[in-house]
Amino acid sequence: MDLTFLSSMFQSILKGLPLTLNLWVLSLLGGGCLALLLNLMRQSRIGAAVAGSYVFLFRGTPLLIQIFMIYYGLAGFGFIRQSFLWPFLREPYWCGLLALILNDAAYTSEILRGGLRAVPKGAVEAGRVSGMSRVAILRRITLPLAIRQALPAYSNEIISMLKATALVSTITLMDMTGIARAAISETWRAVEILLCAAVIYLAISMLVTRASAWAEARLSPWQFGRTTP
């Protein structure tokens, strides 16, 4: 293998890292907020039906088709081209981010739902008895317990989203995969280039695995009250 080629390739792929990280973090934040909203909606019957169909639609179809639908499909509607949203929806960045957020929300809302179901009724009742408001119960009892319960599944979702960001390269965005893809058509040295990109993704996802294992151990009941994990 040609080491100078590998190191120069490594450097040019790393130039796509900021965009990959940007899409990754923002889609997790946006998707997380939307997932919380979807779960709050589930308290009413109509809301539950809406949330259920949303999850069904976004989990039953490939992310790639969702990205294309937003990027190419929405532009076909005149009222969208005339609306204030058009300056955003005409950019591949915003379309890609939107698709990632919507997709992540569907998966995260199911993970959160599992976590919420595991919250003991007694804990919520205790909060109510001691006069906590609904928001306070959500913030101080329900969410902390649900999030701890959902942590292992959520760490998988965090890694899935890192991998999902690679798909925005199909709508011309130059993230790490986009740069690798362009370099392949220039040089035709696919194996070396793809290995460089794969190593970077792998390193990030291993960091996440480590961090989530640490967080899980740290937040386990038998660790409470200890100063060091």
């Binding site: 790639l64 088709i65 294309f68 929405l74 690679a166 798909l167 995969t177 035709w188």
Partner: protein, 238 residues
């Protein structure tokens, strides 16, 4: 919204073409799932019963495939496969140009990705088999193969079914990525149709519906299989 007649089965309709593309999605998904099943079984076996190096190899495989984007793996098989085939072809003195089939590249790539997930499901299912039943089988003098066929496999399969159902759903959705190799499955076909007719939203929506039909129907099938596999179990409350 464009002319819905474009989706029909008439001479101007794309119905038949889309139907065929849907079958291609099914075909490549089934082939990839079976590849993944073979690989996943081997890897799960390696992780449960292998010696040090075998176990490390099997674990390394799952860690790598868990952390690398699926589309990179598909590119690797498609472009890399072409590189390898060209190198072998040139060495053997065949005239170029060389190409490999998108179906084979996609099947192998998604099989490799799915194998990692399936191995985890199968390993979990094996570990959930009560040790007493295995010991009982050994005591009555069953050989390793008989033990697997009559004691381990029937119990593990029941536990593994829901997880395998999830893996199958992932394979269907990952199969859309094979469109980057030019294989004419659903994703590729709706892109072509959308480009030709300029009815982007209509055709991507039609593509989404095709995927929803496949995922929903197979979900029902897996549920049915799950119910059947639970027949005769104590405390299976349905």
């Amino acid at each position: 919204m464009g002319d819905i007649g474009l989706l029909g089965f008439g001479p101007d309709g794309w119905g038949l073409v889309l139907f065929r593309a849907g079958l291609m999605t099914l075909a490549v998904s089934v082939a990839a799932f079976l590849c993944g099943l073979m690989l996943g079984t081997l890897v799960a076996w390696g992780r449960v019963a292998g010696n040090g190096p075998v176990r490390a190899l099997a674990e390394g495989y799952t860690v790598v495939l868990r952390g690398v984007p699926d589309i990179l793996v598909i590119y690797l098989f498609y472009f890399g496969g072409r590189q390898v085939v060209a190198a072998i072809g040139t060495a053997l003195g065949f005239p170029g140009p060389f190409d490999i089939s998108g179906f084979v590249a996609g099947m192998l790539a998604i099989g490799l990705i799915s194998g990692a997930g399936q191995s985890e499901v199968l390993r979990g299912a094996y570990q959930a088999v009560p040790k007493g039943t295995i010991e009982a089988g050994r005591v009555v003098g069953m050989g390793r193969l008989t033990l697997f066929r009559r004691v381990i496999a029937p119990q593990a399969m029941t536990t593994a079914l829901p997880g395998m159902g999830n893996q199958w759903q992932s394979v269907i959705k990952e199969s859309a990525l094979v469109s980057v190799t030019g294989l004419v499955e659903t994703m590729r076909q709706v892109s072509v149709a959308a480009g030709t007719t300029q009815e982007h939203f209509l055709f991507y929506a039609a593509g989404a519906v095709i995927y929803l039909i496949i995922t929903t129907l197979s979900d029902q099938l897996f549920r049915l299989a799950e119910k059947r596999s639970l027949r005769g179990h104590h405390g299976a409350g349905f």
